[in-house]
Amino acid sequence: MIKKEKFLPALVTGFSLAVLSIVPVIQVATCCLLAPLAGMFGLNMYYLQMKNREGFKLQNSDGFQMGILIGLISGFFESIFQSLLILVSKDNPVYDSIILLQKYLPELPVPETIWNISKQIDEKRFSFLLTFMVFINTTIVNSIFATIGSMLSISSIRKKNISDSSL
């Protein structure tokens, strides 16, 4: 079972990751730099909570769980933030994608469903399908990179523990 001590570090780092991912300029580094850093911080926070407990041993599964939790939490918040940005701005990411597609592949027909999503965003400034897609995408991407970060953190903690014990 996922230990409850993992939720708070995952919530803090996942939320911070989601916030930073909508900041212009910084957002370019979200996937490849910020998500691994979030994984590292999350795991270190968890380790600091647990290291004095009797019988505690850091396992690989802790890194995986932390990465997936951070991915899920950041995906959830990022989809909300992106929807809010669409709500307050005049952007229509679906329409932009359609334009790009028609520029390079004019022979491909755009299905009615996709036009409907674009219209829905224009009229209501919200589309559940788009929000869901953003959630799935960001969850997958952030989970992968946060897991790498937390696994790196596990290996550095283990190396540090070995060098400390050999002194």
Partner: protein
């Protein structure tokens, strides 16, 4: 009633994920191969505009890559008149990672050699990218896509170096 049922499903699925994760043990040989194949699929999908003929699928894939890269057209390679879904620098990073992981999969002795590399020297490889990036972003001097590709290719050694030492250390402790 429905809420309790839904809660039980969520609880069960978390238990299943946890069970699978606790039993997660893959030999390093297969791990290198899996990562190489994953990067290969990732690279092939960047040419989606050239071979996929389904609009919804292309939009879905494009949306996915949009999370990873800025996709500025002028900084992207064009294949047969159609842009790749990632910029030239990202293309360099991922193709460099693919090449290095392919070598690591094929030549196992290279893993130990790479692991013994000095970490500071490896970090020095990011210098060309930082210079190129500051020329582009701060001084507004545009370099060519080929230069961006090369700097990306060089910096790919850094993630591969860390991933390699990670895989080696994880296998050492399990």
């Amino acid at each position: 009633m429905n809420r309790i049922f839904l809660f039980q499903i969520i609880k069960k699925s978390f238990q299943m994920i946890n069970f699978r994760l606790m039993n997660f043990k893959i030999k390093s040989e297969s791990l290198y191969l899996i990562i190489t194949l994953m990067i290969l699929v990732f690279m092939i999908l960047t040419f989606s505009l050239n071979f996929i003929k389904d609009t919804a699928l292309i939009l879905l894939i494009n949306n996915f890559y949009h999370n990873l890269c800025h996709q500025i057209e002028s900084r992207t390679f064009f294949i047969d008149g159609k842009p790749m879904l990632i910029c030239s620098r990202c293309t360099g990073i991922y193709s460099g990672s693919l090449t290095l992981f392919f070598i690591l999969t094929m030549i196992s002795s290279f893993r130990k050699i790479l692991d013994k590399f000095n970490f500071r020297i490896v970090l020095l490889l990011s210098a060309p990218l930082l210079i190129d990036w500051s020329l582009n972003f701060i001084f507004k001097i545009e370099t060519t896509n080929f230069v961006r590709f090369l700097t990306g290719f060089l910096i790919s050694l850094i993630p591969v170096y860390f991933l390699n030492s990670l895989i080696m250390s994880v296998n050492k402790y399990d």
